[in-house]
Amino acid sequence: MAVLLRGRRALVLVSAVGLALVGAAGCSSGTSSNANKDSAECAAFKQYQGHDGTTVSIYATIRDTEADLLEQAWKKFSDCTGIKIAYEGSGEMEAQIQVRVDGGNAPDLAFFPQPGLMNRFVKSGKLKPAPEKVKAEAAKNWSKDWIGYGSSGGKFYGAPLGSNVKSFVWYSPKTFKEKGYKIPTTWDELIGLSNQIAASGTKPWCAGIESGEATGWPATDWIEDIMLRDQGPDVYDQWVNHQIPFNDPKVASAVDRAGSILKNEKFVNASFGGVKSIATTSFQEGGLPILQGKCTLHRQASFYAAQWPKGTKVAEDGDVYAFYFPAVDASKGKPVLVAGEFVGAFADRPEVQAVQEYLASADFANSRAKLGSWVSANKGLDVNNVQNPIDKLSVQILNDPSTVARFDGSDQMPAAVGAGSFWKGMTDWINGTDTKTALDKIEASWPK
């Protein structure tokens, strides 16, 4: 009996501790904003006021440091309007959002990194069309292309938020200076430089496409980038919308051009091994050999800047920097592959719409850009507010009138292809499958 008593006492103790903890957590969660809502500081937020004491929940893939900066960027808005923004970032967002929406527990707003994913909720009728005010704000701040990516079936749903430029080749300014390399401005110069480096006995390019469940996506970026250069934006659009088949000779030509670098044993895979090592090298590590001078060129988006270890100077005169992935035919403009997030709404309460409108505004883009590591195609974004050199370069490219921007194709294709067979097909292709077989397989997987 003594044993039992002791057991029971322990049980009571444990439950008491548990309850105390819950209580403590409950007490600490109450926050109060004490900003004076009529002060001069808050004048800019006058139009969003009138929703004091409400909460808007946001669900997105952005997490950790970048999430902190986001929350910091809208803090003033939150203080001045009294709208509490409950932000939640998760790496599982793309899968979990479906579960939450099906379970009747959808967030008020979601930042969709892929228009294809957003369209799925438009089709199931769960997503609310953007209200007039948001539509007007977005039309003022974003180019037609971007508005198009946020629309579905002629209706505008999601205003764009952040953007990133994918057409970059990372290099080390130091190595370039030492060896006397020049930054290539045309495709031929790029291949010429690669040959020059290869002739000196080292492989010029490094790449890595391993990324857990999403293995293969960096290779699809390669193909999209070169598709834009090899075939031009019109064919690119036809390809993305499946107006030409995936195994069209035009696509094969672009893939083969990518293969002239990615499947060339003389060019890859610097410091990792042969061509096949691309498939087993993680995307995060793919470009790191540049720092040790073991690799010279690495094609990856502007967001690769976050992968360099702390203390690395990312600038034109620093340890690493990136140049624009040159066009094949410069006379046809400057093709740029871009990506970004879109703000979709599952609720149409007035406070949700206020937040939506604020996120689409130039005010927010500038407020966020001032905090660093942020790029947006928002036309109201002042380049002087953008902090890092690489982000500045991205904004300049986005705002360049000769730029022909196209959104990441795999993010627009149906998920079965864009987040499935395209990734797998390209991984097989790196592992030795020939172009035709790989493309035929992807074409066969396109949903009818």
Partner: protein, 323 residues
């Protein structure tokens, strides 16, 4: 549970004495040899190497982790506590601060272990020792529920909690949609539901193997069901309860899926597993933190396992051996 039937045979000595060279005995002798010991030690070392490598990595500087393998540590030993510092006491609102998520994990895990054990103990007693019609069918039904994969029930359960139930305009269950710390209750409920079929199965087998004479004697002395349950059955099935507690504890502590859906990802209610999944950053650029994060999250399960270990081994036999 079938594997342990063999172990039961080893314990029962009579048939073995009759034929000394039985297969069981031969296997037993072979397993006691020196070669077998060496092989098992080798296997143990082989199994531990990845964990050991992770442990070494957690003390290496970020740049080293990202560019070289952990074994280079031996030729170039460089130690730092940066990873632990960042994970435990990171200053930004969403990086580090594992400490507060640690508390969330405890708040989620403790009731999620106690509730199913309590409910299952009552239910198994009723199913094992109370006579009522349809008792066996009820037990088979509960047993069969183990087949339903948890993943299948997630969306319906979430819907039940956030929108309630109403049939033809008649509200049977109002919408609850818990917010903030109330979400803990939703997680407790989910974990309790998912644990019950197995818990009832395990405890029922332990209880039904108790000798019926004990209950009869108690009833003759005038004991009620409540008294028999408390004074006779509970003390006798302690090993089974401890084993169940370990199973359930490890499962809930390591769970990510249920927590992601029912607890959300806010610092208010998310457990450590959710935080660990976010630690690496939006594009996995801070994955060196995962090395130390893994070891921090391992501490509690290790303590629980080591302190309840003797019950664990004893409890493995529950439900398989009668008597």
């Amino acid at each position: 549970m079938t594997a342990t039937a063999g172990a039961g045979a080893i314990i029962a000595p009579e048939p073995l004495q009759a034929q000394p060279d039985s297969a069981v005995k031969r296997v037993r002798r072979k397993l006691n040899s020196r070669t077998a010991s060496i092989v098992s030690i080798l296997i143990a070392i082989l199994w531990t190497i990845p964990t050991f490598g992770l442990f070494i990595s957690s003390f290496r500087p970020e740049n080293d982790i990202k560019t070289t393998g952990w074994w280079t540590f031996f030729s170039n030993p460089q130690l730092t506590l940066d990873n632990y510092n960042e994970v435990l006491f990171g200053t930004s609102s969403s990086s580090g601060q594992l400490a507060s998520y640690f508390v969330n994990s405890l708040v989620i895990t403790i009731p999620s272990v106690l509730f199913p054990i309590a409910f299952a103990a009552f239910a198994s007693y009723a199913l094992a020792w109370m006579r009522f019609r349809g008792r066996d069918w009820l037990y088979i039904l509960i047993f069969a529920l183990q087949i339903v994969p948890l993943q299948m029930a997630l969306v319906p359960l979430l819907k039940l909690i956030s929108t309630g139930v109403s049939i033809g305009g008649l509200t049977l269950l109002p919408a609850w949609a818990p917010q903030g710390v109330d979400r803990f209750m939703a997680v407790w409920l989910a974990h309790t539901c998912f644990a019950l079929p197995f818990a009832i199965f395990l405890l029922h087998n332990a209880m039904s193997s108790l000798p019926g004479d004990l209950m009869e004697a108690a009833r003759v002395d005038g004991a009620t069901h409540a008294m028999i349950f408390r004074n006779i059955v509970l003390p006798l099935i302690t090993p089974a309860i401890a084993a169940l507690a370990i199973f359930q504890f490890l499962w809930v502590w390591n769970d990510l899926l249920v927590a992601l859906i029912f607890a959300g990802g806010n610092a208010e209610s998310a457990p450590m597993t959710v935080r660990l999944a976010q630690l690496a950053g939006t594009r996995g650029n801070e994955w060196q933190r995962l090395t130390s994060g893994a070891f921090v999250s391992m501490i509690i399960p290790l303590i629980v396992f080591l302190s309840l270990q003797r019950y664990f081994v004893r409890g493995l036999l529950t439900g398989s051996v009668k008597g």
